[in-house]
Point group: C2
């Protein structure tokens, strides 16, 4: 369903990471800078979320544009990182205009956190404003690394090294849908009965040998689900309304439910942002498609395709986060436990 | 994960069906009558729901007890069936007390519908009050039939005969969790690549032979997703708050997302009710479990187990609805297309 790909396959989106490891550190921040006019929504489905500037994304709130999304470690403390992203955007005069001066702007930077406190050894080592600013400065439109980078640095998924994954797909009508996930789930990304991910990612894995299957099963069984969370983004070039952006985020949670089991528990903070850059009007595409449906119905059919693709991309992103993660200390990676699952050509772990 | 079982494995719940077939009819109603003091919540995740008396289930509304749940065919017209359930309960003086007379009650009967209009040949043949009353009168605590009965009579799942499925599980602490689903999904319950359900049900199926796999794949591919919906119930003996009942319903949608792909589209009315009969206090069970966690944390761990079991039961119920369905006309059943998947001992289709 997905073609590998990246969140940045939606033109105009740039992604940047900043992280620190060692000396008590094992955490980081991931930022998506968005093209002008991007509209956002949200669906929070975990029982213990940590978020900032998200109430304005609800359909009844006035603001609809979003300038960046900040995903970060540090639990609720890490929400400070969003301030650094705002500082970066303010300096570039990017934000909601509130005065006559060029820089009289308020950047809208909805944010969500994962719990990774103390995983590097020191409870107080967590992202601050500088992390957000550095991640924003590092943001590029080119494919960004997968695995234990940025907000995924200190992530853990049922005892395995967590990380960042991303995926995209292009629909038959040219609409691009993409996703980025930071997987820090209490649930399993790996099916204990097969030793393989529940859902496919970009790499075709082989069934690991029996001893490896047993090792990963035991390891996941022994890992007490702690405070955990999967957070992320789905984005599309399709022109969605603000309310549709929240629906887009909502259905992306189905991809999360397929890739991580169980999920959405009372101790997860599972949160997904839905973004539309508005490039492609679904209302005009319907004619090009010549599918014979009345315009309103045709738009719904395309919109459903966007929702479905969002779920598929989010699921693939969750899988790739774990498959590509290299241990940053404390938790073994999937690859450490199941090396035989990987193709020979897979880049060596660093 | 599930042990087969039924919604009625939660003591006090009784389930009844009423349906009509032939002479333009192909629809029905399923009712769950609930023990006194049952608390309810809801999560509506489809884009096109049809519901009645559901706003009072929201955490901020006053009413918390629920006397019955009515699931029915007939799209929004079918909501009339709830009136028949109310009449049945009023006659038994079951309801919210609003006056001095024994029968001065208002029964609380939250309801949801599936779209099956015209599937028996006549658009106007749909459930009315009599369907709800008869289904309520037929309600029993014993295992109820699976497949194309009650509200599942006219159900269709991506071109296959839909139906009613149910499942239950008993947790280590004695808490019972159960589910009932009416599957009328636009998405696939059968994985097109294997010809088997995405998620396991109570019957161990074999991979169908190649010609059957191809037949079911082609059939699902050719079936244009129409107006569709999966509706259902998760119930537990665990004492949940009203808000927790909605969370319970919410996580059950993860089971739906695993069993039906795609799901929650703009044309689905996917709605799940979450019910707690309150028999088992999770707060007291924690001591018996002797798990060494502080009381509040231990309650959350058990509650998470209830949520996870609800998702598992709902997924199994969706699968069993399709696996057990016998065609009621118009749509072939899964069994019609893939007979080789079934064990020899499987009861013959009638």
């Amino acid at each position: 369903m997905t073609n590998g790909g990246c969140l940045t396959d939606v033109p105009g989106i740039r992604v940047g990471h900043h992280q620190r490891r060692g000396n008590g550190w094992r955490t980081g921040t991931t930022v998506a800078l968005l093209p002008a006019g991007t509209i956002g929504g949200i669906d929070v489905r975990g029982g213990g979320p940590g978020t900032r500037d998200t109430d304005l994304l609800r359909p009844t709130a006035t603001m609809d544009v979003v300038h960046a999304v900040c995903l970060t470690g540090g639990s609720a403390y890490g929400l400070a990182a969003a301030g650094g992203v705002m500082r970066h955007l303010e300096a570039k005069a990017i934000g909601f205009k509130v005065g006559p001066g060029t820089h009289d702007v308020v950047p809208i930077v909805p944010s969500a956190v994962i719990f990774d406190l103390g995983r590097g050894g020191a409870f107080g080592r967590r992202p601050d404003e500088s992390f957000g600013e550095r991640a924003a400065r590092a943001a590029r439109a080119t494919p960004s690394p997968l695995g234990a980078v940025g907000a995924g640095t200190g992530a853990r998924a049922r005892g395995l090294q967590g990380g960042v994954g991303t995926a995209s797909v292009t629909l038959a009508n040219g609409v691009v849908v993409s996703a980025l996930a930071v997987v820090n789930a209490a649930g399993c990304v790996i099916d204990p009965s097969t030793g393989l991910p529940w859902m496919p990612g970009r790499v075709v894995l082989r069934r690991p040998v029996a001893a490896e299957r047993e090792a990963v099963r035991r390891h996941m069984e022994s890992a007490v689900p702690p405070l955990n969370t999967t957070i992320g983004i789905v984005a599309t070039t399709a022109a969605l309304t603000k309310a549709e952006c929240s629906k887009f985020a909502s259905v992306a949670h189905d991809g999360l439910a397929r890739a991580v089991r169980p999920v959405h528990s009372l101790l997860d903070g599972d949160t997904i942002f839905g973004l539309s850059t508005g490039r492609d009007e679904l209302g005009s595409l319907e004619n090009a498609a010549g599918d014979g449906l009345p315009p309103q119905r045709s738009r719904i059919v395309w919109l459903n395709a966007v929702l479905e693709a969002g779920a598929a991309c989010f699921a693939a992103a969750c899988t790739d986060a774990i498959v590509h993660a290299v241990s940053t200390g404390g938790d073994p990676s999937y690859r450490d436990l199941c090396p035989s699952a990987y193709p020979r050509a897979f880049p060596s772990a660093k």
